[in-house]
Symmetry: C2
Subunit: 247 residues, 2 copies
Amino acid sequence: MQHYVDRIVRDSKLPYYYQLYVILRHKIRRGEWQPGDMIPPESELVERYGVSRVTARQALEALANEGLIERHRGKGTFVAYPTIEQALTRIISFTEDMRQRGAVPSTRVLSASLVPAPEDIAGKLGIDPGDELVRLERLRLADGEPMTVEESYLVHQFCPGLLELDYRSGSLRELLEVRYDLRWVRAKQVIRAINAPRALAAILSVKPNAALLFIERVSFNQQDIPGEYLRLYHRGDRYSLYNELRG
Amino acid sequence: MQHYVDRIVRDSKLPYYYQLYVILRHKIRRGEWQPGDMIPPESELVERYGVSRVTARQALEALANEGLIERHRGKGTFVAYPTIEQALTRIISFTEDMRQRGAVPSTRVLSASLVPAPEDIAGKLGIDPGDELVRLERLRLADGEPMTVEESYLVHQFCPGLLELDYRSGSLRELLEVRYDLRWVRAKQVIRAINAPRALAAILSVKPNAALLFIERVSFNQQDIPGEYLRLYHRGDRYSLYNELRG
DNA sequence: TAGTGGTCTAGACCACAAA
DNA sequence: TTGTGGTCTAGACCACTAA
């Protein structure tokens, strides 16, 4: 972030279109351009950043593909309003997720400890069984009502000493980025429906055997190395996923 | 399908890159090019179809974005091996879905009738309550074992007389395309976990209250008009969805 | 060295929206 | 009529792979 500059670096190894993509994405993410705002037309980007129109369009196309902007011939290019659909294509935090659904999020830490990696999780993370993992179990609430139990396993090597920090009050995601320069850039997940075991049912305030939306996710860091294994148990009666398909 | 030609139509209203995209996709879908095959290099496509390199690349990029091909600098462009991930971004048939999972699909029609549209479904389809719908209830089996109950509501106006045709033996999807020129180009869906009601449980051979992955889907035709409302009840113990997220 | 895809340019014509 | 994004071209240089 601190290396951010608002211009194309000519002798960079990164392609111009990618540099421009990052610049524009940054302005949207930090709110300099708000949803609904028109962003500068192609002609202006061409002048301002000194690239050809094709190159500018390549950057804009990438943003459009991700749903961050909408383009309208004759009218212009506009910052898109975030939709819940992003929950199924983008890695977003519980906080973001709930805000998009119009609910007030809160969190209770159920347990936090260092554990040796069980065989199955070690396999998914590509580490050796017994390697140190941070296990963090949290209850997520929406408008004060239990919504989701989150069971997270972080490779301790990537965030040594995490449990000594204040992981309870703020966003874990931010903490990992600020203190360890650790971000999840990609993730794979499997979605299933399961019946709630008794213990989980009690925590979520549902009947035993109530249907839960169960998600297992492996997240990859900037070097494309797996760093987190996550289990999400969403209440079936309160949580749903939305997405769009193409033909 | 019968209008397919293996060349760019110059005076078409469709852009060249899109025509080329459809042509190449067609060759992949029908198996003319198999997964792992190298497809002609850009230079050959440029010659063969009489378009510029930029235009050819635009078509290839669209295919790459959808995961149908993989491009490798210095090596070439190759047909990708299909992954289950497509189940969450593309509209695919149960048959395709099961084949990708390595199972043998089969179908039993449970009921088929004309019904007046209930209010809730009419709302989702943008029609008036009472309008005619084709209701088709089918049990889908994988390797002979019940997997999914599919409850489909088709706007009868788009496929008049469908029930007099042979919708039982072949693919419904193909029938709609061939006889009514009807294709679903886009769909919205909501995914939830529910407990199986007794009747559904019996059909799916699971215990009452077993967890099901429940999907509600509205599909849109070529004119972007809703034409089908679908309810999918997947067995939680046998069916899962896979997808990838970006950071 | 030859062939592949990746990036970039300058310039053109078009369709669409708004004034 | 003006300004926007959509499409298309010919040509260039580069990086990577394999022979």
